[in-house]
Symmetry: C2
Subunit: 456 residues, 2 copies
């Protein structure tokens, strides 16, 4: 595949660029995308029906993300220098210098629900570039024209570094790319079924590669009795808003809520959801997946349909009737409310849930001891745990964790949002007794890249 061959050719040269060059290149891409904004947003709206307001925000997030990652200081290189030590036990220690360097060409499978932020020049692409890797993007079929146009804006902005971005289209080409020997790692955002199929291909290659898949999550929310009693109105409004944001098409959409049996929460949420106007789905495939998923959930014994449209669907079930299938993701604006009588009965159910991107707790300050009992379970089952607020809205920062245990991701040690996302595309190498003038810049004593170095 010529896109991958071009990426492989430029790979070593890009991995050896200094941070200044990478910053300039990524900033140039961000500037070009901002400049092309109005026409890209128009195209995105035509293909995804997400609306220009949401898309304008998403493009701003995308270019911010590129600039924030471009400004990274190089701590991700994790430079460690051991001075030689003849008295080191249990034997003399040579001079060792270790850093993390680019893993090689990265294949990114773009997402349907973020045509900018997790697509051609989205988070995965930006973090791979910062790590020093060229990228081949498998375009999402939900926005083909936008993908092509974005790629052309990016490649023009890349100039002599144009080979840092390749675009392939179609499922067959994606699989072929994933099997290509020059691809060193892959990143994916999408469905559990799609992700598992690709993860298996990545694992079964003659040379297996890391596959960073962000797959599925219902993002449980637990409302404690005190909060349910004193803040029912506010929580219902917040929940209805988060559930229907972007027509529910977010990985962090709160699909599963635990509330006390005696709370008016369900009724209050229902009132609000009935007022939400119907919104278009990203495409027919997402729409039909949503309807099939909803039918499957409605058919669970004990499940009661509280609201059916126009803009959202709300189901309700008693904790006694909760089955694991009730926690399966239905991608879109559908919430399942689980009513509990006793908080301690919720704990084993949470502990048995599959891995989640997020879990949210709503509690009064005086309910802290109860949350303390929940916390180890929440931390064990998810990548981000919130006290208050709603899980939609994922800030791009140093401390963000967007990931979690399987099947939230296939790669629990990493994040796909925030500056730590760069780490996915690096691998360590040690240099032993290497002549200093031949060392890669980050390992040299004069530290020309000015990266943090730990010397021992």
């Amino acid at each position: 595949m010529k896109q991958i061959e071009s990426a492989a050719e430029i790979s070593g040269e890009w991995a050896a660029t200094d941070p200044k060059t990478r910053t300039a290149v990524l900033t140039g891409v961000a500037d070009a995308l901002d400049a092309a904004g109005p026409s890209l947003i128009e195209l995105a709206d035509a293909e995804t029906r997400l609306g220009t307001k949401r898309l304008t925000g998403e493009l701003a997030r995308t270019t911010f993300q590129l600039r924030l990652l471009a400004a990274e200081s190089g701590s991700y290189h994790d430079v460690r220098i051991d001075r030689p030590d003849p008295s080191w036990p249990p034997g003399p220690r040579p001079e060792l210098r270790r850093y993390r360097t680019a893993v090689g060409p990265v294949l990114v499978f773009a997402a349907s629900n973020f045509p900018f932020a997790f697509s051609v020049a989205g988070g995965d692409t930006a973090s791979a570039w910062v790590a020093g890797c060229p990228v081949v993007v498998k375009a999402h079929p939900g926005h083909p024209e936008l993908s092509r146009r974005t790629a052309s804006v990016v490649v023009e902005a890349l100039g002599r570094w144009g080979a840092l971005l390749g675009l392939v289209e179609g499922e067959a080409a994606g699989v072929e790319a994933l099997r290509h020997p020059a691809i060193a790692a892959a990143a994916f955002t999408g469905s559990v079924a799609g992700g598992l199929a690709l993860a298996r291909i990545a694992a079964e290659r003659p040379v297996p590669i890391p596959f960073h898949g962000e797959l599925g999550s219902v993002n449980p929310v637990i409302v404690l009795p005190g909060a349910a009693r004193s803040r029912a109105e506010e929580l219902a409004a917040g929940y209805a808003g988060s559930l229907t944001l972007g027509n529910g098409q977010f990985c962090t959409n709160p699909g599963l809520v635990f509330v006390p049996s005696d709370s008016p929460f369900v009724g209050l949420v229902a009132e609000r959801l009935r007022e939400v106007p119907a919104a278009p789905f990203l495409n027919d495939r997402v729409a039909s997946g949503f309807h099939t998923g909803a039918e499957r959930l409605v058919a669970i014994p004990g499940m009661r349909e509280v609201v059916r449209g126009p803009g959202a669907q709300l189901l309700e079930v008693a904790l006694e009737d909760f089955v694991p299938e009730a926690a399966e993701e239905c991608f879109g604006p559908l919430g399942v409310v689980v009513r509990y009588s006793c908080l301690s009965d919720v704990l084993p159910v949470l502990a048995a849930l599959p891995g989640q991107l997020t879990t949210t707790v709503h509690a009064l300050p005086e309910e802290a001891p109860d949350v303390e009992a929940l916390r180890p379970v929440l931390a064990d089952r998810s990548g981000r745990i919130l006290w208050g607020g709603w899980p939609t809205g994922v800030a791009v920062t140093a401390a963000m964790q967007h990931g979690g245990p399987f099947p939230a991701t296939t790669s629990p040690a990493s994040t796909s949002v925030g500056t730590a996302a760069v780490e996915r595309f690096l691998r360590p190498v040690s240099y032993q007794d290497w002549p200093s003038h031949l060392l890669p810049e980050p390992l040299r004593d004069d530290n020309p890249w000015d990266v943090p170095q730990r010397v021992s």
Copy 2:
């Protein structure tokens, strides 16, 4: 399996211990192993035939490793704190606090060739403990009594933390443990065939888990013409020593050497190897694997047998006759020398080699430009690259990298030796807007564990 159930039970409590507790516990284990040293070494020698000198050194390395890891400062938690920022683009930023915490119970497959350092209380166990994970070790059948005795010394030293170490024996029990839902990650040192079979099981679990396998490596050595001319004697002596150390039963054994055609290197090495006395193999399985592997290599067209025993075997082939099969590991004291006429012809051969733990270059200072051309290829193909010296002898330090691209390891982003090995057993979690008194200690502003915190 009761060992895993006990590990799972203690898992949360151990993950929440402060560094002081972990240091004390690991140091206690190291002290107990040192105290039991003479009897353990005697047992190890009876089961592995490695000799008391080598085993004394290995036990010293093992207890040093435990103490070094126990003294880690907590930088592996990678604490990041984002203060809330209402003006954060493209939307207000909540308070986010992220750290890496224990992944959960770890399964360690012990190695045959390091009955202490990569066995019951070896590097994998120590790094998992430091990360906050309990460990279940699948004993290596090559030293069953030693494994039991070591485990009993360790469990006694662990005292109330005894459940941090469980021991299982036999292939079936190992596979059953790897499939157990409570196991969160696995580490393995052994053969490519064994490692691949286990890696597949880990990937095909209902909940797949990370599998850190250290599989195979022939650790190429490239002797440049100048070094071959002026230092032939010294290089031959060094090579013969490294090749036969521990009867060649090291992952880092230099099995493949590239030398100029006109160099006396082969003859000089041959002289020395003929003087090496025969040494016992670890066990009959290793011995028969060695002989089968040697026969396979000898049968390659163009391969010439230079030395056959008593203590080592040396083969020679011209670069023109080099085939990928000549780079397959033969675990034991067997070296393949590849004679080249022109250094630039070696480059594509190195680039096509499978991933390696190490690669070593011997060159004169004035040959630096040639090495510079080789360096990107060497760094791309291995975890540690040496200028001079020999790859056997792996220091336990902060900057050591013992790992590499597949099949050197199944986990190219990590190391199994050195302080960075702890990272394999951690996963990040973010806390959003969480009440400060309920946060895990490393994330608190008062920083009771005194770990490095990056605040932005």
